[in-house]
Symmetry: D2
Subunit: 364 residues, 4 copies
Amino acid sequence: MRVRLGMVGGGQGAFIGAIHRIAARMDGQFDLVAGALSSDPKRARASAADLGIRSYADFAEMAQAEAARPDGIEAVAIVTPNHLHAAPAIAFLNAGIHVICDKPLAATPAEAEAIAAAAASSSARFFLTHNYCALPMVREARARVADGALGQLRLVQAEYLQGWLSEPAPGNKQAEWRTDPARAGAGALGDIGTHAWQLAVFVTGQTPDRISADLSSMVPGRPIDDDARVALRYASGAKGGLWASQVAVGQENGLSLRLFGTKGALEWRLSDSERLIFTPKDGPAQILTRAQDRSASYRTPPGHPEGYLEGFANLYSDVARIIRGDDSLADRVPGLGDGLSGMAFIAAAKASATRDGAWVEVGA
Amino acid sequence: MRVRLGMVGGGQGAFIGAIHRIAARMDGQFDLVAGALSSDPKRARASAADLGIRSYADFAEMAQAEAARPDGIEAVAIVTPNHLHAAPAIAFLNAGIHVICDKPLAATPAEAEAIAAAAASSSARFFLTHNYCALPMVREARARVADGALGQLRLVQAEYLQGWLSEPAPGNKQAEWRTDPARAGAGALGDIGTHAWQLAVFVTGQTPDRISADLSSMVPGRPIDDDARVALRYASGAKGGLWASQVAVGQENGLSLRLFGTKGALEWRLSDSERLIFTPKDGPAQILTRAQDRSASYRTPPGHPEGYLEGFANLYSDVARIIRGDDSLADRVPGLGDGLSGMAFIAAAKASATRDGAWVEVGA
Amino acid sequence: MRVRLGMVGGGQGAFIGAIHRIAARMDGQFDLVAGALSSDPKRARASAADLGIRSYADFAEMAQAEAARPDGIEAVAIVTPNHLHAAPAIAFLNAGIHVICDKPLAATPAEAEAIAAAAASSSARFFLTHNYCALPMVREARARVADGALGQLRLVQAEYLQGWLSEPAPGNKQAEWRTDPARAGAGALGDIGTHAWQLAVFVTGQTPDRISADLSSMVPGRPIDDDARVALRYASGAKGGLWASQVAVGQENGLSLRLFGTKGALEWRLSDSERLIFTPKDGPAQILTRAQDRSASYRTPPGHPEGYLEGFANLYSDVARIIRGDDSLADRVPGLGDGLSGMAFIAAAKASATRDGAWVEVGA
Amino acid sequence: MRVRLGMVGGGQGAFIGAIHRIAARMDGQFDLVAGALSSDPKRARASAADLGIRSYADFAEMAQAEAARPDGIEAVAIVTPNHLHAAPAIAFLNAGIHVICDKPLAATPAEAEAIAAAAASSSARFFLTHNYCALPMVREARARVADGALGQLRLVQAEYLQGWLSEPAPGNKQAEWRTDPARAGAGALGDIGTHAWQLAVFVTGQTPDRISADLSSMVPGRPIDDDARVALRYASGAKGGLWASQVAVGQENGLSLRLFGTKGALEWRLSDSERLIFTPKDGPAQILTRAQDRSASYRTPPGHPEGYLEGFANLYSDVARIIRGDDSLADRVPGLGDGLSGMAFIAAAKASATRDGAWVEVGA
């Protein structure tokens, strides 16, 4: 039986809301039935009408009403700007409705803690859509590391490079809130840096314990970071680097992860997302494809490219199965821990940058 | 309003039926409401129950019943093996229901002609899911050729290489009917050669007028071709080659198209489907991405990979809009003409191969 | 002790002569000491003076004089246009001087036979500089095929694509003689098609026994082929294709070889010449580099790219060692057999093309 | 007339000496005539005999004797381990003989200063073989930056990754001195980090003014750095990263440079050294090849790969022409300035690493 889904945000013209809807639809495991799709009541109504779903002017009202209906939503997708994650997340968690929240977790540490507190006292679950970690070759990368294919991990390099903010972008709604400190909390660091961070943590199974950061606003007058360079140190002795930039001209979505251990290396790039390069210490590099993947996170045979939407859909489908009781998948679906880790990363990076790159403990 | 869709074939365990359903779901433009999902009545019923749709034991009954309902299906997807395309296609066309048929058109020329006759006398439309031509960079390639970016076309090379049939595959249901002359009509030639043919015709806007073919059964005892090499001659003086193989070990879905004209060249590969290489005669090669695409056939920004399913969904979404009255898209959605061209290609290739590669006119 | 080398052709402004000289110099195994560098006596003298070597106005005189000197040349490089290979080759072979001849062997079958006769009755050896087969990853490819890594060979695809002759090139000295039937003998077929042919024969260890060819002159008015498409059939049942073109706009030197057998596949491209992709039937593709090469045909560690000149130098260095008595290398250095095979390929392709692509036996 | 060349170091079994000899030979502009090829007199003699050159037991004696001969060497190549650069360099500079020195300049700042002092008071010139900057596409990259193709430079990322020292390598002569602080001065930082540094400085035309470094010895017990991560800040406001590692398993010679400016981006990788990717801000990426190069630093047409040895030979040929009086090339041949810059980089990185990554001025 399909999971009944609601949505907060994602009205007409929104970007990430449409992505979540496709992801929810793809494998036929959800029915979108209700939404508070916009803070503008008229736009909220029109958007809901387009989709043929129940419309609410307000997420709080929606949480209450849906919880009360026998056929009310079982889960809600929160696809608002970062500073508007906490309030609805808490409302639905308090109403016992599962939350699927876009990343990063929140705009401020205080909001993040409030979400964590609500989750702790709720019977409902909290999921965070770090979508890249649901791609099959990323899941295979993680499995290889866990299997010991790299031996002891030594070097980590994670990058997420974009060029779309290399100039001021007045009138671009996406650019506007993402470069507004009040709504976004952080710039490149939060928007894409947290993806790179989560990817590295997810695949390696290790979280850096100290970082040193250099944050820049390369575009004159921009009030938020658009380039973030972070050095990483792990308790194990491994070292790494994380580079997130939105002024890397010509880069569309240059997300990549490179790992080197005592016994082998792994390299994955979003621009070639269906391949994973594994190089054992004493042999040739191998081009792994879904033919070598063991996560079965796909719908088509190897060589028929799947991509961004399918990764998102992998998360949604796992969430549906978890909601229906299959807890075996919980381990690979990002959740509150990932969200708090991302917030700790942002906070530590900002603290380090303020102190000219001093090493700062993560999560301290 | 969503298009009400039915399906023939595609019951539990089927491959291409599931793909069609995802494609129909992806953009929220269809509701699958009825199906004759299997020739095995029990499996048909169980499959329909899984999907929560009306079930029919028989496509003929379904065509009649659905045509009679006020809320009956408006379109039907036919996803049966090749030799079972004609009968249902004709039944639904006769019932005034639009047909979305998997490729190739049929297993025999006679079946193809019967479909053509039914289409000619029906008010309903006929679509053929040559999905690759709906990928954005393929559409952009076609637009470039039409714009004259290549000048006069001289050389064409189309390939579709797979390795999955490099050995006998007893017990593999997909392999079984695809290597059975009675059900498939042709082997590599029909299954993937027609994709390469349609791709080349679609992008170049030209159909070869004579071909010379060498068909092989590389796996001992296989009663159908598993490797097809076809030389192409165009009325314009251009020449080309088409190579389809299912015994190319290690190749997953090695579909590619290379074009060379007097003024420039284009190269596209499914393994890197989001990029199109354009080389003007006197300048460096350019790596085109969706940032340069003009067909707007996608859902996500450039650099977020879309793939096979999105291509399929592009077709479905165009079909929905055509059915709802937007004829401007009809030109880019494959239909009966593509199906008949593919059948003519198969027939000419077989005739040439029988005569040791003599040049044979296509469609004569 | 270095081998004393002479040269016929290769005067000021010549292309391939300069390449041969670098190749001879690279590993310090030759001293160039004499030359008949041009048919224009003045240019011959000036060119020799530049190089500080003995100058001859005439190759016949040179052969005689050098054979008579105690410190005369031991080997001669012949780097003239194709129709001027036979006469000097025969003169030096008759004088007991080893010949290193540029490819193809000759402009006509009659010339080729005359060379073969001279070689048969000479104490000196004959080498042909099909340079690509001396690249380390090509040698490794050959070793893998010989080891059985591909199992039984089924499919062969060889290509050599260039774009530099996509237009008439008046005043270009290289283009002039290469498109003159009298001096070149064949166009794309001879100039680069023979490279692709030799590469395929060298790596697979098999020579096609029948071929079917389509030769074109895509540039209006060109008196020689500039595009050659050849279908290949092997006695073993393997099939293949060879495509050589000089009108493939944007292609610099697109030489490639793809092989598929029952147990694995190999792919090599000159544009990425230091890598060889090997795909076993049941595992991921492997990116082989010189770290996996067993021929030791290089001077630098893997990852420091070597290329065209080093390949040429590999041939020269092997020739020097063969001349000094190490016959173990003779097997991997192309010679008269390769030259005659190339001539048989040209002749059969022309015969087939004349008969509209009829299958013609090679070498019959 | 060829330049008479001597060599210090590079006896039998040496690696880089053989490379220098090939480079000097390739374009026929040098005659190697004398050497002090080893500190072991017997090996020195035997090595010289192999090469047929004058042998000296001692570089000091050689400098004196050669300076006194009318046919004495005009230039000397110094290819000893780092700590043995200064003494011979000074001796030959004092003797008025041009010096071609392998990189890095020296093992200690004191040695570097002594060389600089000797160069300042000598009539002879000093060249440093940072070979990668002589590759044609690197020279073209530099020309593009100088032309303003990138606009204002914002981001720099330079990497040189190797894996060959990922384990202790007892008995490997190359590994031995390169991991010995006394002989090498620095590990990955000096051996390959200086290459990456020089490459970035050469192409961008800018030197970072402050750096922050993290140096590691990943292999337990190794007394020298084998992984160096350096953050870069430029006076212009640009920022960057430099990563040099010798424990990056599977990497052969992973040298790369990525630059992003306000108007465009450039990317070059040694693993694909004949291509340079240029992406203008508002258009598709372009794959530049030697067809677009303006430095004319090659011997063969585009598409015939040249590589490491040809880059080295480019330096040698430029040096020969400079020695013969063509000063127009001096700007593109690395020299003392590059050497001192590299030493300043090493010193600043060590100072920063000692202070846990504090920002340190370069060259202060």
